[in-house]
């Protein structure tokens, strides 16, 4: 039995034990794991044990929290202003009788951000279905079209409005980045949507879309994990979802247990990383470099 600092919340004890174990492992001199010359006959690369420890911990934490969420335990998520704004934007579009535009990025369905965007699209479709306003979804990649169609259809069906679903509103524009941007700008200028929701993987076309949307007077909420495009969204949009908040958006909107659980799990992993960073900075400041060396990947 490993003794660790006690917690007043018994349900966190198993995890605190795991974290304590990790810290003990990390403080061990890493020289025992240093390279053997020839690993071609080995079944495990000991130079990568640090990565394995982190992966096992991270996967375990996520699966644990997903199970907890599925058992009905409530999991708190802090308020994210940009995500509350989606509902406000949809409401404003309804008042003005103008459509909602959802742009799921320009990458294919095998990209994680597009997967996240599709999840959000389903939730937005459910929101929009009840208000009887059009939801336009211009698509950049052919493979994303059937996925988007299915998500929108499901959204409408789960809101009890399968009749309101219009397949023509999920529209393939072009594979080519700027041709797609020009097409979406055309939709913005002609149809004048009141709410522009830009979620997914964006590149150089992000500013074009955001600026054009601003000109039409739409409320704009954007979210991407492409760090290089965040400044443009911050400048041109009303709300910006930054980085991992994009992946949290689906959990935030749907409150689905598996999504909430994975969000909590990755939050805990981030907390552990922050602790390790702080500990590492302190130790290195006092000349203890073995701890830092454990994190080098060879």
């Amino acid at each position: 039995m490993i003794i660790f600092p006690c917690s007043k919340a018994p349900r966190y004890r198993p995890f605190l034990r795991v974290v304590f174990l990790l810290i003990c492992i990390l403080l061990i001199d890493p020289s025992w794991s240093l390279a053997q010359e020839d690993l071609t006959e080995s079944w495990f690369n000991p130079n990568r044990v640090n990565m394995l420890v982190f992966l096992v911990f991270f996967f375990g934490v996520i699966i644990y929290f997903i199970r907890r969420a599925k058992k009905g335990k409530s999991l708190f998520i802090r308020r994210i202003a940009g995500l509350d704004a989606i509902e406000e934007a949809v409401g404003r579009a309804t008042e003005m009788g103008r459509p909602v535009l959802f742009v799921p990025g320009i990458e294919d369905v095998n990209q994680i951000q597009t997967v996240a965007a599709m999840i959000i699209l389903g939730n937005v479709a459910k929101m929009v279905a009840g208000y009887d306003i059009p939801l336009f979804v211009p698509i950049c990649r052919p493979f994303v079209v059937p996925v988007a169609e299915e998500r929108v259809k499901e959204g409408y069906a789960s809101a009890g409005r399968p009749d309101a679903y219009n397949r023509d509103n999920v529209r393939y524009i072009s594979d080519e980045q700027f041709a797609y941007a020009a097409g979406v700008q055309g939709i913005m200028l002609r149809d004048k949507p009141m709410a522009n929701l830009l979620f997914g993987s964006f590149f150089a076309e992000s500013l074009m879309l955001a600026e054009t949307g601003f000109l039409t007077g739409a409320i704009q909420v954007a979210g991407t994990a492409n760090i290089h495009q965040l400044p443009f969204f911050v400048v041109a949009c009303d709300y910006t979802i930054i980085g991992e908040e994009l992946f949290a958006t689906s959990a935030y909107l749907s409150k689905e247990p598996k999504l909430l659980g994975s969000l909590k799990g990755s939050d805990l992993a981030k907390a552990v990383i922050m602790g390790i960073l702080a500990l590492g900075a302190i130790l290195v400041s006092f000349g203890v470099i073995e701890f830092k060396n454990w994190f080098f990947i060879q």
Binding site: E107, Q177, F178, S201, F203, A204, I227, H228, I297
Partner: protein, 282 residues
Amino acid sequence: MRKFLEKLERLDRRVIFIFIGFSIALPLLFPVYTDFSVTAPVEGFYNAIEELPPGSKVLVSCDYDPGSMPELFPMNIAVFHHLLSRGHKVIMMQLWATGTLLAERAMTEVLEDFPEKIYGEDWVNLGFKEGREVVMVSMGTNIPKTFPTDSRGTKVEEIPIMQGVTNFDDVALLMNVSGGLPGTKEWVLQVQSRYGVKLGSGCTAVSAPEFYPYIQSGQLVGLLGGMKGAAEYEKLLGRPGTAQRGMDAQSVSHIVVFLFIFIGNVAYFAVKGKKKRLQVSR
């Protein structure tokens, strides 16, 4: 005066467009060639090639499209020129379909200064391969298996420069000219961190800040960020090109944007101040 300030605060963007247009076009037509210093990331990139023993094999991945050409094409030309002038062997490849013709054109331009260089012995173009990160990782195991032929259809095992090149252990340096995805980040994540190969990158200015952590951690030996990075690199090579020519345009346009921001804020505060005074007087 107040109306003028309010108009200034809500200036029609077309006025801004006109000023930006002139501020870029005029310096391009009448360059002054203002001097500038070279930053550390560019020096790192340059030194990485300088420190290679002559005859080293360098893999250059040209992953960009015509959109990012103004920033990356001068970089691409400068990299090829630097490598060939130092007697290194260039193995070029592309992970972007739109990069194939651009990379070929860059090499064609550079070869005008090196007519003695022979295809297959001094340089080779492995061509484009779809698969993004899968291709990168596959090259780490076996490059000839990933690229069985070059862009001209010749079997890789028949190409002299590719003799003895099995994976990244057999290349001295990997250079990436990157316009987006897949690009520098993927090369760092999938190749540099896994196989430990020396990696240098040239990228667009908007992406450059994202890669500073990789320079600090040593995962990138150097970084050319945008047209400025390309201009600094051209300066180090002593070979002024289109990047240096573009620096004046960039300088003037940045000053114009700065002035507009300044004017906008002056007008904003003046109008805000007037509104407050009006409210108080009521």
